[in-house]
């Protein structure tokens, strides 16, 4: 199937954190401004003719039934076509995928993909922890977010000898990277010893194995490759993408040492882009918990199944490693404002491919970067996007 080539011509985000002082609308406006400001040759916002919004959890700020209309109004584009995407933790990356398809179809010229998420307007107890009460006894009552991934850590340790130190090395690396990212929620170094001494949240995951609850927003401007040079001389192109599903509940998983949705989604993205894991210069992957990054780098084909722990401990995924993973600090340090997360990760890929990432810049040799999210209760959905700077 043929499709029009799509380019990223602008991307930006706001400083992540507990943004008690900002409304959802203010965060959206901030991210849009940052994306507009990043366009090398300038882009009049009236050129945007469609908006795809990613917001995953309106219930966290009292906007359960929110549609797609809040954002155009907030960013001064009321009247523009707008659709909201909700697809669990990959909401942002799926909004990007859908935005790319909208441009590829030729229906819209300039598309804004924007992710906005309020995670801290409600107390922790009323917010994410409240999901413990969501189900009934056959729907995993007591299941807070770490319960969705900790069983994989237990089993990964059992089958492959993965250790708490290996898990901790992921948090240490990502916090280090976060120190180099001015947009990261956390900007302080941590040590393996600190991770191992932090309180147990959901065994075997400790506090520093877990990402924080972060408010944030990120925005990307897409247009056709044909028009990209009107806006920049350094466009980044959409090379491929894939989305895949799996059974939604943990007891329906066929295995607890991998996430099949990731493997399926990345296989589709690699096929579409005509590349493989070895062609990538860096990747932004879903590290909501340390174990998740270990599963990801295995399921994405960066390392052999079972070797994710040692690879992390030995620095293969560090900024100067064989395959740098999460140079932005990842969800663990940069934060995980769910709908914004994927778009913030893609923004990092855009900076890295344009070699504008400052102190955390990785070596760009082949010109490909991969972005990945997985989530949805028992990791029932994954989205992978691959960007390239190669024309």
């Amino acid at each position: 199937m043929s499709w029009n080539k799509v380019a990223v011509v602008g991307a930006g985000l706001i400083k992540m954190g507990e943004l008690f002082e900002q409304s959802y609308e203010q965060m959206a406006a901030g991210a849009f401004s940052a994306a507009l400001a990043s366009v090398d040759k300038g882009l009049d916002k009236s050129a945007v003719d469609a908006v795809i919004v990613a917001t995953q959890r309106g219930s966290l700020w009292g906007q359960e039934g929110i549609g797609g209309n809040t954002v155009p109004s907030a960013i001064g584009l009321s009247g523009v076509a707008c659709t909201r995407v909700e697809n669990a933790c990959p909401s942002g990356s799926d909004a990007f995928r859908i935005g790319a398809m909208v441009v590829a179809s030729g229906v819209h010229d300039v598309v804004l993909v924007i992710g906005v998420e309020k995670m801290r307007d409600k107390s922790t107890q009323e917010g994410l922890l409240a999901r413990a009460a969501a189900g009934h006894p056959l729907y995993n009552r007591g299941e807070t977010a770490p319960v969705l991934f900790a069983p994989f850590a237990t089993r990964h340790m059992h089958e492959f000898g993965t250790t708490p130190e290996m898990l901790a090395s992921v948090a240490v690396k990502n916090h280090h990277n976060g120190c180099l990212d001015p947009y990261a929620h956390f900007q302080s170094e941590i040590t393996v010893e600190q991770v191992l001494a932090s309180p147990m949240v959901c065994s075997p995951l400790r506090l520093l194995d877990c990402c924080p609850q972060t408010d944030g927003a990120a925005a990307i401007l897409l247009t056709s490759a044909e028009r990209a040079h009107e806006f920049t001389d350094k466009p980044v192109y959409v090379a491929g993408f894939g989305v895949a599903t799996d059974h939604p509940y943990l007891h329906e998983k066929s295995s607890f040492v991998g996430l099949p949705a990731t493997t399926l989604a990345s296989g589709r993205a690699y096929d579409m882009a005509g590349v493989g894991p070895r062609d990538l210069d860096m990747a932004e992957v879903h590290d909501c918990f340390t174990i998740t990054e270990i599963l990801d780098i295995e399921d994405l084909g960066f390392v052999e199944k079972g070797k994710g722990g040692p690879a992390s401990l030995e620095g293969e995924t560090a900024l100067d490693g064989r395959i740098p993973v999460n140079p932005s600090g990842g969800l663990l340090a940069k934060g995980h404002p769910i709908g914004a997360t994927g778009i913030a990760q893609l923004t990092e890929c855009w900076w890295q491919l344009r070699e504008e990432a400052g102190e955390r810049q990785v070596a760009i040799r082949q010109g490909f970067a991969l972005q990945h999210n997985v989530g949805g209760r028992g990791s029932g959905v994954s989205v992978v996007n691959i960007l390239t700077r190669n024309p």
Binding site: Q125, A133, H136, P137, R141, P146, T154, C202, L205
Partner: protein, 552 residues
């Protein structure tokens, strides 16, 4: 058995002697098996006294953990009795449940218990409640139904987990427990209702009920706890001792031989022995009170179950039986045990003729010693000490459609088995197609109750009403189904991949006042991966679920 056969069976009028109270030679109703259960916590009675600055209290009382109640205790005792009797749930024609405080003051208590036990939807019987006399009322009602030919097998469950008022005299004596018996009608001229055709191990041979309208322990409409603002001396001298003594004499005088022991409900650890003394036979139920406290509706049958299993009592029995045989020439008499229940101004005594060892009979020691807890923890478990913070509400209201759809599969623990590939998807209501092959040739099946830990976590961070540590366990059941349920906090420290666990009914939540029941995993001691039991099949090495289940 098909519904038609079942109806025919129920309508079959067994020739029985309905005049059981007269103690005549023909005994119409047999006891086929018994079961008992105690909750998991124990509180030293003296700790209760100490909390109120008194030296009152002796022994221990049994206390339900936060996820136990009268229904979960009843479930355990009933399953044990059915197993002991060799009677399948489908064969039970009536469930009679006696509990002073059913889980729903008004509501589907009986339907919930019957569903969790896997009884047929058409099962008869009823719920007796309102006072601790409810246990005996359930027993007599079942007996009557069997005697009248309306039932072939009856399941009688007596259970209680009363919540005593703080600072009341009953606080240091109120315990919890359950006892169940499976009764069978004996057809005239037949060997009996046992599965193997032999005569039943025990028979119900006498009964008497007396009333004395006096207020002692009570719970008014709207009260959350049981009060007992009565004069203890007055109660002893004018109510309890005379009423139970008269009731006991009523059955003892009609019995063919002297009773060898009594099991008597006991509000305070002293009154039952006063009654037994007057009745002139040993009190066999004293150890039950000592270990569990006043078990309310369950007290009389728990005492009876203990007496049937107790070596000391049986030694006496053997001696008595020998004497009796000599005196009467009858070889049939194994010795008689009396049981007296009390509550709400009524007492009922029954006499059981235990010819042989009663299947399932256990002494109170065999019910486990439980976990000793401090007064404050006991209060918290009983819901009498609550955090100020509002508990997080369950996302799904327990009266809502998801529960109406889900209750049968949740209480009965069902899965949807694929006729094509064998995969079992749980629960059926969310699986119109098979998780293994995507096909839709599914049949609803009850799930195995035992399996092996595939993986687990221990959640330490949850809002009220949850309490850490809370294990959540993914289990591969023996039938090949995979399930994720809560585990026992008591197992949190030791749980390991490969452990064998069993599923037991627990109360998951008391949500907006409505109890929500489901199954939890409990580690079977000494069955870990390192204990010689073959390690569970591992996954992640290319094996998929259908491959695992292919061997089942």
């Amino acid at each position: 058995m098909s519904p038609d056969e079942k109806n025919a069976d129920a309508m079959h009028t067994d020739a029985i002697n309905a005049d059981a109270t007269s103690g005549t030679a023909v005994k119409p109703v047999g006891i086929l098996g018994v079961g008992a259960a105690a909750p998991s916590l124990r509180l030293a009675a003296k700790d209760v006294g100490a909390a109120w600055g008194s030296s009152a209290g002796r022994g221990t009382v049994a206390v339900c953990d936060a996820d136990e109640d009268t229904l979960t205790l009843a479930w355990r005792a009933a399953n044990a009795a059915l197993d002991a009797a060799g009677v399948s749930p489908a064969e039970v024609s009536g469930l009679w449940w006696g509990t002073a405080r059913p889980p729903f003051a008004e509501g589907p208590s009986h339907a919930f218990l019957a569903t969790t036990l896997g009884l047929d939807r058409s099962v008869g019987g009823g719920l007796a409640s309102g006072s601790p006399h409810a246990g005996m009322e359930a027993l007599l009602a079942a007996w009557d139904a069997l005697a009248a030919g309306h039932a072939r097998y009856a399941l009688v469950v007596t259970s209680d987990a009363l919540v005593p008022g703080l600072g009341t005299a009953g606080e240091s004596t109120t315990g919890a427990g359950a006892a169940a018996v499976v009764l069978g009608a004996i057809a005239e001229g037949s060997a009996g209702p046992s599965a193997n055709g032999s005569s039943p191990p025990a028979r119900l041979v006498g009964r008497a009920t007396l009333a004395m309208p006096a207020v002692d322990r009570y719970r008014a409409d709207g009260d959350r706890v049981t009060g007992d603002v009565y004069d203890a001396r007055l109660f002893r001298e004018q109510v309890f001792v005379p009423l139970l003594t008269d009731t006991g004499r009523g059955v003892a005088e009609g019995a063919a031989t002297p009773l060898r022991a009594w099991a008597i409900a006991d509000p305070d650890g002293k009154l039952a022995s006063a009654v037994a003394k007057r009745l002139g036979a040993p009190l066999a139920s004293a150890p039950v009170f000592g270990a569990l406290g006043d078990t309310g509706s369950a007290a009389a049958l728990l005492g009876l179950v203990h007496a049937c299993a107790d070596n000391a009592t049986n030694a006496t029995n053997t001696a008595n039986a020998a004497n009796t045989t000599d005196a009467t020439g009858s070889a049939s008499s194994g010795g008689l045990i009396g049981a007296i229940g009390y509550g709400g101004g009524r007492a009922t005594a029954v006499v059981v003729d235990a010819a042989r060892a009663v299947p399932g009979a256990v002494t109170v020691d065999m019910l486990g010693t439980g976990r000793q807890v401090a007064y404050a923890e006991a209060l918290r478990a009983r819901g009498q000490l609550e955090p100020m913070a509002d508990p997080i509400e369950m996302g799904l209201p327990p009266g809502g459609a998801a529960f109406v759809r889900g209750n049968p599969e949740m209480l009965g623990l069902f899965g949807a088995r694929c006729r094509d590939c064998g995969t079992i998807s749980t629960p059926p209501s969310i699986h119109p197609t098979c998780t293994g092959c995507g096909g839709d040739h599914l049949e609803v099946v009850p799930l195995a109750r035992r399996g092996r830990v595939e993986t687990f976590v221990v959640n330490q961070t949850m809002p009220p009403p949850f309490q850490a540590p809370l294990p959540l366990v993914v289990i591969d059941l023996e039938d090949g189904a995979r399930l994720m349920v809560q585990g026992s906090p008591a197992d949190a420290a030791d749980l390991a991949v490969g452990d064998v666990v069993t599923l037991s009914l627990r109360r998951y939540a008391l949500e907006r006042g409505i109890p929500v029941y489901g199954y939890k995993a409990f580690r079977v001691a000494g069955t870990g991966a390192g204990s010689g039991v073959p390690k569970g099949t591992t996954v992640g090495s290319g094996q998929d679920r259908s491959a695992r289940e292919g061997g089942s």
